[in-house]
Symmetry: C2
Subunit: 416 residues, 2 copies
């Protein structure tokens, strides 16, 4: 008996070629090397309008992709550096959140960024109207609103009409891929984040991926594994061992879930990978038991920060009754948290049936989080391609919006 | 041909009987009707020690079940009521979090609650040593620590030695089921939360479940459905439509994941239900697409707040270019957020293949969250019983702890 195999091993090569083709029509690929002169122009306009030195607080009115990216970078940097201005995020219709946030503001030193790609996001327009009401009722004499939206959106037309400042979003950049566009960069530069370093970090991953650097192999291999095993390992957890990545986790959850939860292009079959964002060591006391002993349907990516911006040690205080734990004395907290990460990694790898990987970022700076962001954007695109879905749309959220409009229309009809 | 069926329909009756038997040995069942005189005794002791009026800040040093419960109730109430004292939570070994939290404190008006059931939680002891170092280095002349721990734990012995205040945890209450024990009630009473109302809410669900009230049928039916379908619908999302339940979501994730991710009693087969905590409407712009179009492996429970403690409306500002959205004018934000919840519920129910249910809580008060907490504790016990697992242990987290101790020992050996 003869059995000759002619299985192709060109999967990964073909995948790379398909992704290279995408870079013409999907905008986010080109953001790391964008021309940022529009940011300087904008800052000059804002300075003339309100005086940059007068502005202490920035309110980002935007939901989903219009706030999660800036939030993730802002809190990552803010935990280790004193920033020039404070960012506040209104990303809800919860009246308590909206009023509590606005009650803390001094309207004379606040600027509002109204961010909506489509320009007609109902939560964003509701919050905009609320803050506009506050401004109209105040003694403020300037119009402290900037509108970040797609060219020619209805919101842009409105902004022109009322004389708001306008920044357009680069072409073909979807909400969840927009953190490195004007959507993320404008709030971040106002907070005093080094957006050039953020873009350099992203550019480094971009180069390393498209020009066969060390990231290329890892990304292709990982994406292929995730896609091939998407029915059995259908949950992908990231386990970040620093609290400063808390909102990065939320950003990842949106990017992954909204991109990869789709009907397949040909079959309309429901597929999807479920993202989970965990924080260590906290979630060792919450989610770890499920990872360790639960159903083998989860992959875990550990994210580790190499250099914490803090050298604090556990003091050398011996406690006789708890002498077993005197082992931790004189250990830096940063050493301890990284040892915890290594220990959990080892304990889970012992099972052999939990796909594990580890990402190490160097520092708590813009360059590092720029790398991490771009790495995950590329990974998402790769997996989406292999799952045979449209990674960049979100058709499943439309019917809920339409039902809401009908309900609002009914209320209006009943009133009049 | 004759086919006579003798299928039992006594599942639910048997389940109820088994759970009733558990109430003798599992402590949390009896917490709603606990004698709370120990709380008054404790407050008197604390008053003598440090003067209750002098204490402005309470630091909870505890991780997992030792902090998530109090955190969920505290933030739920805090969003709508000015409280007497501020709670801070140190539930990490991240040096930035620990030092940033402590930098904000005035040590003269701070009291620390060191909470650990076993008494030897490494994160908790590390943070305790750090804060003890701060106190030792300060001018404070009292010892501002209370220890909440199991009777006869090593931490209790230490507390006796150093003259700390001590509150024991009620017998047989596991960490993730401990929010209604001293673990949750002591921090909450110090913040000014009405813990009697919290317990009354829990007692109401307890009665309704064990004495065949309306909750009994819902819980038995829901638990049976989740357990029977635990392999296909293995992800259980809760979708809370108020930001004030954000930390309740985290509490749920721990309760559900750590209780239900286990090896089965007889087979040692890995089973588990994966919890997801979502917040609306924010996560309509993040996770909803995956729910709507992704793999049909998720159930969704919507949690709705009937009466928001805020009557703010969207002002009647008409925007010509966005006139389609003038529909929201004069609508209360609380009405809008609840309409959003109803719309998403309807849109997902259209698929017929996503198990949905809805929980409505009345108000942003202690009674309502007490009900919600106890409802989820009972549901967890019921599902755990049906999955044939031990709901109350967490053996999977041990090996990581042991590996960590080995690594620390190695460092110590290398140093000496």
């Amino acid at each position: 008996m003869i059995n000759t195999l002619h299985f192709s091993s060109d999967y990964e090569k073909d995948l790379l070629i398909r992704i290279q083709k995408e870079t013409d029509k999907i905008g986010y690929y080109n953001l790391p090397k964008q021309n940022t002169s529009y940011i300087d122009d904008y800052l000059k306009q804002l300075d003339r309008r309100q005086g940059l030195d007068n502005i202490k607080d920035i309110v980002v009115i935007g939901i989903g992709g219009s706030s999660l990216g800036a939030k993730s970078v802002y809190y990552f940097i803010k935990s280790v550096r004193k920033l020039k201005r404070k960012l506040h995020f209104i990303d809800s219709t919860d009246p308590i959140t909206i009023t509590n946030t606005c009650d803390r503001l001094n309207l004379n030193s606040t600027h509002f960024l109204v961010i909506s790609k489509s320009g007609s996001t109902i939560e964003t327009i509701a919050a905009y109207k609320y803050t506009l009401g506050l401004i109209n009722g105040s003694a403020t004499d300037c119009f402290p609103f900037t509108f970040i939206t797609d060219k020619n959106s209805l919101l842009e037309k409105h902004a022109v009409k009322v004389g708001g400042l306008i920044v357009n979003i680069q072409d073909n950049v979807g909400g969840r891929f927009s953190v490195l566009s004007s959507v993320g960069l404008i709030p971040l530069i106002l907070a005093d984040i080094k957006v050039d370093c953020l873009l350099q970090g992203a550019a480094k991953i971009n180069n390393s991926f498209f020009k066969k650097g060390c990231v290329q192999e890892a990304l292709l291999k990982k994406a292929t594994f995730y896609a091939k095993n998407s029915t059995n390992y259908n949950i992908n957890a990231i386990f970040s061992y620093t609290d400063s990545l808390q909102y990065f986790n939320d950003w990842y959850v949106q990017l992954w879930g909204e991109s990869l939860g789709k009907k397949q292009k040909n079959s309309a079959f429901n597929v999807g990978l479920t993202p989970i964002g965990l924080t260590g060591p906290k979630d060792q006391h919450s989610f770890l038991q499920l990872l360790a002993d639960g159903t083998r349907n989860k992959s875990v990516t550990f994210i580790k920060l190499k250099e914490f911006n803090n050298q604090q040690s556990i003091p050398d205080i011996r406690l006789k009754e708890l002498e077993n734990l005197d082992l931790i004395n004189n250990i830096k907290f940063s050493t301890l948290i990284n040892l915890q990460e290594e220990s959990i990694f080892e304990s889970l790898s012992a099972s052999k049936r939990i796909p594990l990987d580890e990402i190490t970022i160097q520092k708590q700076d813009e360059f590092s989080i720029g790398q991490l962001i771009y790495y995950y954007e590329l990974l998402t695109s790769l997996v989406g391609d292999l799952l045979n879905i449209n990674t960049y749309d979100q058709p499943g959220v439309e019917s809920g919006k339409q039902i809401l409009v009908k309900k609002l229309q009914q209320i209006k009809n009943n009133r009049s």
